[in-house]
Amino acid sequence: MALMRSRTGFLAAALLLALALTACTGAPLEPSWGDISLLDNNILVTFGNVMIQLNPVDGSPVNLYDPEGQIRTDPATQTARRWEITGTDATTRFYQAPFLWDEDLLLAPSYDRKLVEIENSAARLVNVTGYPLPGHIVAPVLPADDLLYVPLSENDLLALNRDDLSQAWRFATRRGIWAEPLLVDDTLYVTSMDHNLYAVDSVTGQEIWRLDLGGAIASAPVLHDGALYIGNFARKLYKISLDGVILAEYSTVDWVWGTPTIVDDTLYAADLVGNVYALAIDGDGFVELWRQQTAARAIRPSVVVYQDRVIAASRDHFVYWLNRETGETIVRHDVRAEVMADLLLLEPTEGLDIREPLLLVSTMARDNLLFAFAADGNSEPRWKYPR
């Protein structure tokens, strides 16, 4: 009360209250989640303003080498230099993996309306301010032979000339594009938050047809056996012909965000209240094989099918391995944070020196950013990053 007695004290108390109320609303959320991909047979993780390469064998950061094959060292600290990029601009946000633009140059889409150029061999930002874009990006850029297709999260699809990043054409939707377009022959299939699935000429940017699906679409379409498969916020899964006719539909309990996965003529999908679905694709429509309430919260990422298991990861901090025949949970593992990013299944190949198939799970927490599990889920994580 003594503080309140003076006018200055009262002013200070009021300002403190204002600041406290500002704090009550919590720290700002990341606008989107990260991505996991492969680059030069190493794992590339992108999230927030960080991009880092990890060794798939043990999750250790990848070192940088000079042309003579020697590990590069930091002149200041004399420690080995890692392949790690931190956006120097505070607004830089990498939510999608970069793609190879030119021999040693990567282009990374940043949420803050730009494409950032990276020198791969030196893990260095070539141009800090980046190439400006007329909107934010949360979906992957689709690189094609001559053009780059850049979906903007508020409105349009841009086609940029690959050589100089000049605009070739711009296709307008009423709302944003939150999923990667699908290129089939010369047609782009573009899903939009304005409820439409668009077919667009990939060369000219002219609309071929559009189909209103009655709800926002945040997932990318999948092509299987001459038809498109898609889920949306109208709580539906659709089978659509390449000329824009709905061939079949199935009602889900809640919104579908993840792109459906199709294996052996069976479609697997999940919704945002934790259900996982297995639907047989039959000529006339979908036949429900099973539906399981698996997780306590939303399942955002696409489900992954590995041998006799279906794998789903949720916002409830768990990764679930389900029986592919029945949908029953066989095992689950706690990753201590929400999972929103798509999972990545790595199988041993000639270049990828891993002893067993690995399932990579990226979370929304930087201190538990990446987990590598044996793909069958039968053991604790093989490694995690950071350790």
Partner: protein, 311 residues
């Protein structure tokens, strides 16, 4: 917070659909509904403010009398509050209750408008009325501003539209100040010893701080919340004007009557004794009440219910 947030998000989305996909209109209607819902609290706040103002002369006298005995002063003040049926927190409580609403609304606006994937995924499962999914995502643009983002002042001067954030902030400040000016009591006469009145000084400070604080909030939070502030202030001003015209029941006039109708020996100790001042209070209070209008008795001459009960 979900038990507040989910109905808020649902109601905002429902209003959006009803009002032809106009988010600003739905925020405005939502605000009016919130103000109507909190009307009893507003009334209580206004009554409390007036009552506090009316007993200020007596309070000042007590402060002067017990300036060296803080404990006794506190006890006497509490006695005074009790005598006149005043809750000293009555003015603050309604304001405090509005803060959770304001925080929930901020989050509800962000969730309903959901400009980013992480906001959108939080919206899922919050719509309690079937069929509202069909309007998702809601249009978050208004006059070139993003309703989910704080006003952008970086582009001011580049176009006519770029001045809208400034106008918006100006309206928040002006309407907050206006509402405060209208609803807060008029300054009481200075004390005989010329010392500044503590409550009055605080009220004056509030008149300066509140608009600044709300402009600060508007700069930090979303444009949608600024619209809530403006509409809420305008509704508050209108509410005050209407209520003032019709006179609030249980105004300080009743307090005066209550004191006047008490037997002198029972009402308060005689002047000069501990806790004195009822008669003095009456003398001091009456000239200030309701612009000198006859008070306390209804037109039929009967005492008000509250005053009768107090006996």
């Amino acid at each position: 917070m979900d038990f507040i947030l989910n109905p808020f998000v649902t109601l905002l989305t429902f209003l959006y659909r009803v009002f032809g996909n106009d988010m600003v209109l739905s925020i405005a209607v939502f605000t009016v509904l919130v103000r109507l819902l909190t009307l009893p609290l507003t009334l209580q706040q206004q009554r409390s403010t007036r009552a506090m103002q009316q007993i200020q002369p007596e309070m000042r006298r007590l402060q002067e009398k017990y300036k060296n005995d803080r404990e006794k002063l506190a006890a006497e003040q509490m006695t005074l509050y009790r005598e006149y049926g005043i809750n000293p927190l009555g003015g603050c409580l309604p304001l405090l209750i509005q803060f959770p609403i304001f925080i929930a609304l901020y989050q509800a606006i962000n969730m309903a408008l959901a400009a980013t994937p992480t906001q959108m995924i939080d919206t899922a499962g919050r719509l309690l009325v079937p069929g509202l999914d069909s309007v998702i995502p809601l249009n978050n643009r208004w006059l070139g501003m993003d309703l989910t983002q704080p006003p952008n002042l970086n582009t001011v001067g580049t176009s006519i539209e770029s001045f809208f954030p400034i106008i918006l902030l100006g309206l928040v400040g002006i309407t907050t100040w206006l509402q405060f000016k209208m609803t807060m009591p008029k300054p009481a006469a200075p004390s005989p010893d010329g010392k500044p009145d503590q409550a009055q000084a605080m009220t004056q400070s509030m008149g300066t701080i509140m608009p600044i604080m709300y402009v600060f909030f508007s700069l930090s939070f979303s444009v949608g919340l600024s619209i809530y502030f403006i509409v809420s202030n305008v509704v508050g001003i209108a509410q005050y004007a209407v209520l003032n015209r019709n006179k609030l029941p249980a105004t300080p006039a009743e307090i005066v009557d209550k004191a006047a109708e008490k037997p002198a020996d029972k009402a308060l100790p005689a002047k000069g004794s501990a806790g004195s001042g009822a008669s003095a209070a009456v003398k001091n209070v009456r000239p200030n009440t309701a612009a000198g209008k006859p008070s306390g008795n209804k037109p039929n001459g009967k005492p008000t219910a509250k005053a009768s009960k107090a006996k």
